[in-house]
């Protein structure tokens, strides 16, 4: 993972990064949400940023919680002084977190926090065939792209959120920050509800991961997820150059075992083996789906007949539950796709306001890669291995400085970044997230001012 010419992460590189590249200005504008303490406007909450918890992990895994910044200069100074290997963002509290020990226990509580989600490839270990644990490859990234698409659609369409930031976690996952005003103020129980709404694959450590029992007809959000996931499932999961689920007998039997009808799996297995080298995984998937659906239709017919018979003879009609029923067959393709492609959230990160999450634009200490924003619309094009490491970035400054032989004199921080591959990520952060967010905040502040003015005039 390291660049050929030197380490990707070191204290020395970190120093250069925090000195010349870290996008302080953008981070500051984001976290203030229009509440810059040095602003002269009457609309701003000047204590706001100072109540936001930041935490630093410095050398030797020393973890420092309850840090906060008074203003932008203070942020720059503290980060440059501490040289954090990792930096986490926490909640906005009722009092500055530095003072947490000086107030009554009940008086120190989180009042605001982005709604955050954490998706990590390690949660896919039971389905991904290419790697496991901390290892990742280009193929696994398909899972993240699929997860982002589903989550993003639901957060926007169902919940109406607009200011959503997706960030590469630096190694094998993604973080999602929902920054809308109402999202930041959600109480914990509402956060749990949102996370539950977005979760389909249940089961934690030690337990087998399973798609929670679905009901028929499928909830609108799940139907939409399926429609989005199914093509990606065919592209990323079943084929040989994906996870190979339907590429060879050993793997396809895993899928066939989940068919709720006796016999269907064996028939498919036999015919697929006979035609192993003339059939594509795509064809196998279509065949399996139509075989299961056909059987489900037959079951439905049988159940209808039975019902009309038992109804006439006065007996109780059998319940439509469990294995072998028509419903279980209709749901099969959904369960198959969701098992392999539906986002698997680490819900604990989402359910509590008071949960820390790694800040964007810090570097992952193990890989040296910077946690850069990801454009969700083009998530499948994102390549985690092309994300610059600290080592690369520092090399880029030097190389480009030399080649350009300094056209403009007096280069400072702002210009350094333009010479590196970090620049486009900061631009993306600025254009697709920060600008719409600032516009919304300005509008809200204007509206509040108008309301205030209206009230004053009234009296």
């Amino acid at each position: 993972m390291a660049a050929d010419d030197g380490p990707s992460f070191s204290e020395e590189l970190l120093r250069v990064y925090y000195q010349r590249l870290f996008p302080y200005d953008q981070m500051w504008r984001w976290l203030c949400y229009g509440n810059d303490p040095l602003s002269s406007s009457g609309q701003v909450d000047k204590t706001y940023i100072n109540r936001r918890e930041m935490s630093f992990t410095i050398a030797n895994d020393i973890y420092i919680r309850y840090q906060c910044f008074k203003d932008k200069a203070d942020m720059v100074a503290q980060i440059q002084k501490m040289q954090p290997h990792k930096m986490d963002i926490g909640a906005v509290f009722s009092v500055p977190p530095r003072d947490h020990a000086t107030v009554k226990a009940g008086a120190f509580k989180p009042v605001e926090r982005e709604l955050v989600f954490d998706i990590d490839l390690t949660d896919y270990d039971d389905v991904r065939t290419c790697c496991s644990g901390a290892k990742v490859c280009g193929r696994c990234w398909g899972y993240m792209a699929m997860a982002m698409k589903v989550m993003d659609a639901s957060l926007r369409d169902d919940f109406g959120f607009k200011h959503i930031l997706w960030v590469f976690s630096g190694r094998r996952g993604v973080h999602c920050w929902v920054c809308d005003d109402n999202a930041r103020r959600l109480p914990n129980d509402a956060r749990s509800a949102v996370a539950a709404y977005l979760s389909v694959v249940a089961g934690g450590e030690g337990k087998g991961k399973k798609v929670a029992s679905l009901t028929w007809p499928l909830h609108h959000a799940l139907q939409r997820a399926y429609d989005a996931l199914e093509p990606m499932f065919r592209e990323n999961i079943i084929g040989e150059d994906g996870q190979g689920l339907l590429a060879d007998p050993e793997n396809w039997r895993k899928l066939l075992r989940t068919i709720p009808y006796d016999g269907v799996a064996d028939d498919l297995d036999a015919s697929w083996q006979a035609a192993q080298f003339s059939q594509t995984p795509e064809q196998r998937w279509q065949e399996a789906v139509s075989a299961v659906m056909a059987r489900a239709d037959k079951e439905a017919q049988r159940q209808r007949n039975k019902k009309s018979k038992t109804a006439s003879s006065g007996g109780s009609g059998g319940g439509e539950e469990g294995k072998g029923t028509a419903t279980s067959g209709y749901l099969w393709k959904y369960e198959a796709v969701f098992t392999h492609a539906y986002p698997r959230l680490d819900v604990n990160v989402s359910t509590h306001m008071n949960h820390l999450l790694k800040s964007p634009f810090v570097a992952h200490p193990k890989t040296g890669r910077v946690c850069v924003p990801i454009n969700c619309a083009r998530a499948e094009e994102f390549d985690p291995f092309s994300v610059p490491t600290l080592g690369q970035l520092v090399a880029e400054i030097d190389a480009n400085a030399a080649s350009q032989s300094s056209p403009g004199s007096g280069d400072s921080g702002g210009a350094d970044i333009e010479r590196t591959s970090l620049h486009k990520y900061v631009q993306c952060f600025e254009a697709s997230f920060l600008r719409p967010l600032s516009a919304a905040i300005r509008k809200a502040q204007r509206d509040a001012a108008d309301r205030e003015a209206a009230v004053t005039v009234d009296f």
């Binding site: 226990a105 369409d157 169902d158 919940f159 109406g160 959120f161 109402n182 959600l186 109480p187 129980d189 509402a190 749990s192 509800a193 949102v194 539950a196 709404y197 009901t215 007809p217 499928l218 909830h219 609108h220 959000a221 799940l222 139907q223």
Partner: protein, 501 residues
Amino acid sequence: MLGLASMRSGLEKDQPVKRKQHEIISMYTTPPSEELTLDEFELFALDRLTVLRKLEDLKARGYKGREFTEHLEKAVNTHMKINSLSENVEEAIRKDTVSHFILRLAYCRTEDLRRWFLTQESALFRYRLESLSSTGIISFIQSNGLAFEVVSADDKAARRSRLLTAPGATAAEFERCTFYRIPFAQATDLIGQRLVYLEGGYAYVPVQRVVAIVVARFRAALSRSLAEASGAFPAVTGDPRFGPLLQNMSRQYVGRDFGGGGGGGGDAIRPEHLDAMAARSMPLCMRGLHLALRRDHKLKHMGRLQYGLFLKGAGLSMEDAAAFWQSEFTRVMSVDAFTKGYAYNVRHMYGKEGKRTNYTPYSCLKIIMGAAPGAGEHHGCPYRHFDESHLSALFGQLKLERADRDAMAAHVKGRNYQLACQRHFEATHRGYEDAGVSADGVGNHPNAWTAASMQYWKAKEGGATAAAAATAAAAAQQQQQQEREQQSEGGDGGAPVAAQS
């Protein structure tokens, strides 16, 4: 002040006003302003308290659905009569309102009391709302000024197929069904289970599901009012007429929760009573912990907590508790080691250290749902955590009749651990009802088991419990003494058990 007597007599003369079902359910937004006698004050409050406790009890025993409703209905009909549209409906409404506000006052004092009241009242409110028809609920929402936005016919028709994907929706009822458009943060229960259609931050809630949201509103409003009322509590309880009544009300509660001790049937418990109590007045979980402590002279962390808090709840003072634990532990360690490692624990349990929380004794639910005991641990619920062979061996030691033993084993098989424990109580306290002992809460809280048992033996043996227990204790201790002498002679110095008997 509206003289309610005159109002009532007026009603009696005229034809009673017909009340619709939804009109007898209140959100309790306006406190009553009327005269009532002190007797009524107490009576009303205690009747409501009985219903709320019954409700808690039913929940704790895992009653659900129809069964839960039927049991609760019985209690409500007996004590509050607010279900029926009888002639006395005005009186019932008055009682409902008054009793709610009295208890609100009595239960606003501490965080724990508030949480308890909030939980039970919300459940009662939900039960009453659920008894309404769809039209009843729509009327209730309108008449209580709950500004839920109704989805227009056009909007509804445009979303027909999507609205029908919500579980439980049927095409047949779709046309008639009213939908509300509610911000998703108010419909957390519904969206968490994907029970409703969601669009643009709003949940589209059919009228059958809107109860959950009304209950959430009710709960939030009550929670706020309770917090506000707690500020006024000292002023109100200063009133010589009903101040003591209010104080008493919450003490009644404390007796139930055993948070403040005094759960030993009225008398304080002394360390020397414990052997006798273990023999006949402790449920199996505590008996097991006591015997293990006596045998091994130590308990692991979870066991210390479960048993220590139980003893606190039963009325063992902190000083006695410290002496008791010390006397046992120092038989396997030095006094110094105990002081360093465990004395803090004891004081902590009594809220004298650290966070200074007055920890409440564990309820059955907490014990059953809690971590299972590992090797060398004795906490937990034997019915839940023992395997079949251990449990039948244990039943064998108890000298129970065959029928009881079989019934208990059957309950365990059916995973009704609390019912098994209840049966154990019934089997060992024959005729407790005749002795005037209420077994409410037995099988629900170990301290309730012990309190009821102590009360039973006290009534049965007539004399003071302490004396009775002491006699029984003497026998038990003799046995202990012998065992101890057999075991060793060292480290017996400060054992208050032996010294004081």
